[in-house]
């Protein structure tokens, strides 16, 4: 079973469909591997063993009846614990929320993946209330980087990155407000897709910053990333933030290659606020794609500042009652940022939203001459678990709020991004590069990621487990 668990969801679904194995056998193997390995990774907070076996048995019974199986048939998956899972309290990384009654229904995206045949095996560790870039959790312990356990997984979807990189599941879901899919993808060396803002339903996911929240998948192959994303597409009438844009499945164009695509690197801000390895990774991707042009996204630093302030302010508004009544039960690092957010002038929030519209026009203008933009995903490889500060652009900064310097100005526009993992000989840890597409063109970002994967430029191997 090891080759299947180390492989793709696509391969698992084919094996189940062809009768080479069963969904129940895959589920048993995946849960067995989680039991052995997760003590080292800290990726899971909940297992739904009974549900998983019941679901797998339904798939096997459907096959026995000769029914057509879904594209993800039998593939195990897990979700950041801010997704509603029927029967579990949606803890969202917090101590406080685990006192909530169990969810009485699954989040829309969980239900859609199961409808495609995937088998939910559990919920994943995350930074408290998603206000985190490190993968630390004050209540459940950190999710660790499977490629070096002394290093961060990245956050706030740290358990998602860790579970996929560690070979516990081939696909996982996370959320991304300012970089929380792209940062752990970069640190853990997996593929992550942050779709266009408003693309996927957020129903049944505990919010953080409504203006900026996105949900999306992690995977170890681009084929899986696209298949998972495609399975989650579709209008959800219960989500007022979802845009009225026709779904565009991506699998059918995934192998179309990069011919005809105009690809450019982002310069300026995106070429100066990080360590050399971040820019070298972009250069390698650019060279592989024959992307010789560099363009500048003006006012990216202001965009990052605006996203920072919107996050503090909206996050505080969401949690103000809990900050009054349960301050001692928060992770102190999260609580004090939220308290400060509650004290910010309202004018700053309005100014930030006004700037957002201006900045959007500038960002969209770049796509008149380019189809894809490249930028680092993180300013460095995964820091050590206890590292509190680092130096960026010559300035000593806190690690926790600043790992998103390159992701925030992109999600602030709402652009779709695939983070691809880049490896360097002699280095244990990878670093990610953002493949950025125009709004609603996830298909283009996935096509480019797939071309890079096919040419061996990027890859997401399962971490060696000793």
């Amino acid at each position: 079973m090891t080759p299947l668990l180390d492989g793709s969801a696509h391969a698992i679904a084919n094996a189940v469909r062809d009768g080479l194995t069963s969904a129940v056998a895959i589920t048993e193997a995946a849960l067995g591997r989680i039991e052995i390995r997760d003590g080292a990774y800290g990726a899971f907070t909940d297992l739904v063993t009974k549900r998983a076996f019941e679901r797998a048995a339904v798939i096997d019974a459907a096959r026995a009846r000769g029914e057509r199986l879904g594209p993800l048939a039998g593939a195990p998956f897990a979700v950041k614990n801010l997704f509603d899972v029927k029967g579990l309290p949606t803890r969202a990384g917090s101590e406080i929320n685990r006192e909530r009654p169990p969810a009485d229904a699954d989040a829309t995206l969980v239900a859609r993946l199961e409808a495609a045949g995937a088998v939910l095996v559990g919920a994943l560790n995350m930074g408290e209330y998603a206000y985190d870039f490190t993968g630390q959790n004050a209540h459940d312990g950190p999710s660790r980087n499977p490629h070096d356990h002394a290093h961060m997984s990245g956050g706030s979807s740290g358990g998602s990155g860790s579970a996929v990189a560690g070979g516990l599941v081939p696909i996982a879901l996370g959320s991304d407000t300012n970089g929380s899919i792209r940062v752990p993808s970069s640190f853990c060396g997996v593929f992550g897709l942050k779709p266009t803002y408003g693309r996927l339903s957020r129903v049944g996911a505990f919010p953080f910053v409504s203006s900026l929240d996105h949900l999306g998948p992690f995977a170890r192959s681009v084929v899986d990333l696209a298949a998972t994303y495609d399975a989650m597409l579709g209008r959800d009438a219960a989500d007022p933030a979802q845009a009225d844009v026709a779904p565009m499945p991506t699998a059918i164009t995934l192998d179309d290659g990069i011919a005809g695509l105009r690809i450019a690197k982002l310069g300026g801000y995106f070429a100066r606020c990080g360590e050399t390895c971040a820019f070298e990774a972009v250069d390698r991707i650019a060279a592989a794609l024959n992307a010789e042009r560099t363009v500048e996204l003006a006012e990216a630093e202001r965009a990052r500042a605006a996203a920072y302030l919107i996050t503090m302010s909206e996050g505080a508004a969401l949690h103000i009652d809990r900050l009054r009544a349960r301050a001692a039960d928060f992770d102190p690092d999260v609580r004090d940022r939220l308290i400060a957010g509650a004290m910010l002038p309202g004018a700053w929030l309005v100014q930030a939203h006004k700037f957002r519209r201006r900045y959007r026009e500038q960002a969209l203008a770049l796509f008149a001459d380019a189809d894809i933009l490249l930028a680092p995903a993180t300013p460095c490889r995964a820091p050590k678990l206890d590292q509190k500060t680092f130096k960026l652009d010559g300035k000593e900064m806190l690690v926790r709020p600043n790992l998103g310097v390159f992701t925030q100005p992109i999600s602030f526009v709402g652009l779709p991004v695939v983070s691809v993992p880049v490896w360097t000989d002699g280095e244990k840890l990878p670093i990610g590069v953002q493949i950025i597409a125009p709004p609603w063109r996830e298909d283009l970002a996935l096509r480019v990621a797939r071309a890079l994967e096919r040419d061996g430029v990027v890859s997401a191997p399962v971490a060696h487990f000793a």
Partner: protein
Amino acid sequence: MMEKVLDPEALVDPAAALLKLTLTPESRAQTILHLTIAAEQAEVLMSGPIGDADEPAPVYQP
């Protein structure tokens, strides 16, 4: 030199009282740190033009 957009030390205690938030000494110090960072970010945000007629994007669609 640009005038500071916010004085965290002056703000923290009256704001906490107004918001009915109780701060421990450790929390107060960290709150001041995060207000200071926020003020730096606000200075960056306000460093360029935002016009009277610019519309915010409350229900944002890219």
